[in-house]
């Protein structure tokens, strides 16, 4: 956790509460010229270069790219959770407030409460030593306070919302007692129990079987419709993006290759990289012959 840009002594004035009060006419999330830099022995390297996008309430932006494209670093930069040494510059405006100016203390108020995150591997993302109930409830207690019993009730309700059968019993179970799909439901319950304004989902279905993936995607769409949450959906799978996203951003090697509505990207791609990626996706519908490879130079 070392965002040098976010100084520990950042001014407190108008801090904590104002983050949650939208500035008039502002968007949910407005990222401008985001650049993420890591120091290496060969000098600093930009893993995200000059990336700009916005997300409106109830809408989903899909960021799609192959490994090393910088898509995950974009999401961690928004959360202020870049790995050691990582530094973000540019503007990340959340309801008009620049998150990059916030102190770590202020960011903690935002994380979990206003912006929640779902990770790829639900097993390693859950602490094996605590029951899932405790882990769902602790975010609630950290932000809203209240008794343990009340928080547990929140956890049970959240588990019911993500359609885990018998939540009163299951709330006291440990992560390893759940299947992969169920664990991801728990992660979603955890992310949604505070009704955040924005959910960042980083490859949330990659580790899952295809039938379970379909269930989880349906669940996420359903919950988003209910709550009107904005969503940043990160994936390598173009077909998944086509199913969930309103807008799509294609990344490669830290750079934005293309950005537009899902329909624009899929029906009329402008960048040759996007076209090549689309050509490379194997399809189950019909076989037109060889799928095309993508050249990487």
């Amino acid at each position: 956790m070392s965002r040098q840009k976010r100084s520990k002594n950042a001014p407190r004035t108008g801090s904590l509460k104002t983050v949650s009060i939208p500035i008039k006419g502002s968007t949910l999330l407005d990222v401008e010229n985001l650049t993420v830099t890591f120091p290496t022995v060969r000098g600093p390297v930009d893993v995200v270069k000059d990336s700009s996008f916005r997300i409106d309430p109830g809408k989903t932006l899909g960021i799609v790219g192959e490994s090393g494209s910088g898509k995950s670093m974009t999401s961690l930069a928004i959360m202020g959770l870049l790995p050691e040494g990582g530094e973000a510059s540019g503007r990340i405006r959340f309801f008009g407030h620049d998150l990059l100016d916030r102190s770590d203390r202020e960011m903690r108020r935002v994380r979990g409460d206003k912006i929640a995150m779902i990770f790829q591997d639900p097993l390693s993302s859950l602490n094996p030593y605590y029951t899932v109930g405790v882990q769902i409830a602790e975010a609630y207690r950290a932000h809203r306070g209240g008794s343990k019993a009340a928080a547990k009730k929140v956890a049970v309700d959240a588990m019911r919302r993500v359609k885990i059968a018998d939540p009163e019993q299951r709330v006291d179970h440990y992560p390893h007692q759940f299947s992969g799909g169920m664990r991801q439901r728990i992660m979603i319950a955890m992310a949604l129990c505070l009704e955040p304004d924005l959910v960042i989902a980083d490859e949330p279905t990659t580790a899952l079987d295809v039938t379970v993936q379909a269930q989880i995607l349906d669940l996420m769409k359903e919950l988003q419709e209910e709550t009107g949450t904005g969503m940043l959906f990160i994936t390598h799978d173009l077909a998944v993006v086509s199913e969930v996203a309103d807008e799509v951003l294609v990344m490669k090697g830290g750079e934005t290759m293309e950005h537009g509505t899902a329909e624009e990207i899929f029906s009329n791609p402008q960048s040759s990289y996007t076209t090549a990626l689309l050509d490379a996706v194997p399809r189950i519908t019909d076989v037109v012959g060889d799928i095309k490879g993508v050249s990487h130079e």
Binding site: F38, T40, V41, R42, V45, V47, G68, G253, S295, H296
Partner: protein, 321 residues
Amino acid sequence: MSAPASELAGGTRKGALSTLDSGSAPNPVKRVVAALRSTPSVVVSFGWIIFIVVLALAAPLLEQITGISPYAYHENAIDPALGGLPLGQWGGVSAEHWFGVEPGSGRDIFMRIAYGAQVSLTIAVAATIVTTTLGVVFGMLAGFFGGVLDQLVSRLMDFLMAFPALIFMIALLSALPAGNRPLLLVIVLSIFAWPYTARVVRGQTMSLRNGEFVESARASGASPARIAFKEILPNLRGTIIVLSTLSVPQYIGTEAALSFLGVGVIPPTPSWGQMIASSVAWYAVDPMYFVIPGLFLFFTVLSFTVVGDHLQRQLDEGDAA
């Protein structure tokens, strides 16, 4: 089909970040050596180890040159009126006796340190060779073949590790006839220490055995013996080097402790631990007598540990060491 060179992004194995800081030196051994050479503490430690090895090897030569035997009593260097305390400052440090002399007997401490180094290093290195060999053989057998063999070896290891090793070593050494003490020390140390090497080797072998490259060697038609020696053993190399480097200081320390307790190397053969033991009676009046062997012991154990620690770190960082 795209051009084959298209994927030539370098070693994009762990994503963009690791590509950038791994200089992907052609030879992993060179990379480790280069990293170690740029670490001052390792260089100093290595220097000390070389110094001690040279001291041990050169001990007979030094004896000839100076004409001072480690066993010779120098009554002119001690003061009988004071119960045999060394004459002069700092425990009798002089041009003739560089580290002073032993109180009571007047034996030259420097020569005893040099010969003591010989004893300590011989025992520690011999025990390391024996435990590493036993540990690798048993660990690989148990980890590679599993089943009944693994059960047998594992139970034997559990049994030996449940022993209160130090107490038992002391008891055993005190019970056994004197005979060749250094040899006995090596045997006793090895009996109780090999399971620690074997346990690590076994664990690594088990995880390597489940690796797909072992399965692909089987699919290629390799016999179990070839898989063990050609596929698995090269991957254990780093671990074995680290384990043996870290064994040496442990055995030096244990030998010294046993000698300190009077069940190790038997006088008059010098040993650092034994020198400290005989200094107990004099520590209040002649502190140099325990400080010198104590520091030699400390620096030697420390140096081996520092080198071992850094080798371990290099092994953890680079996948190919």
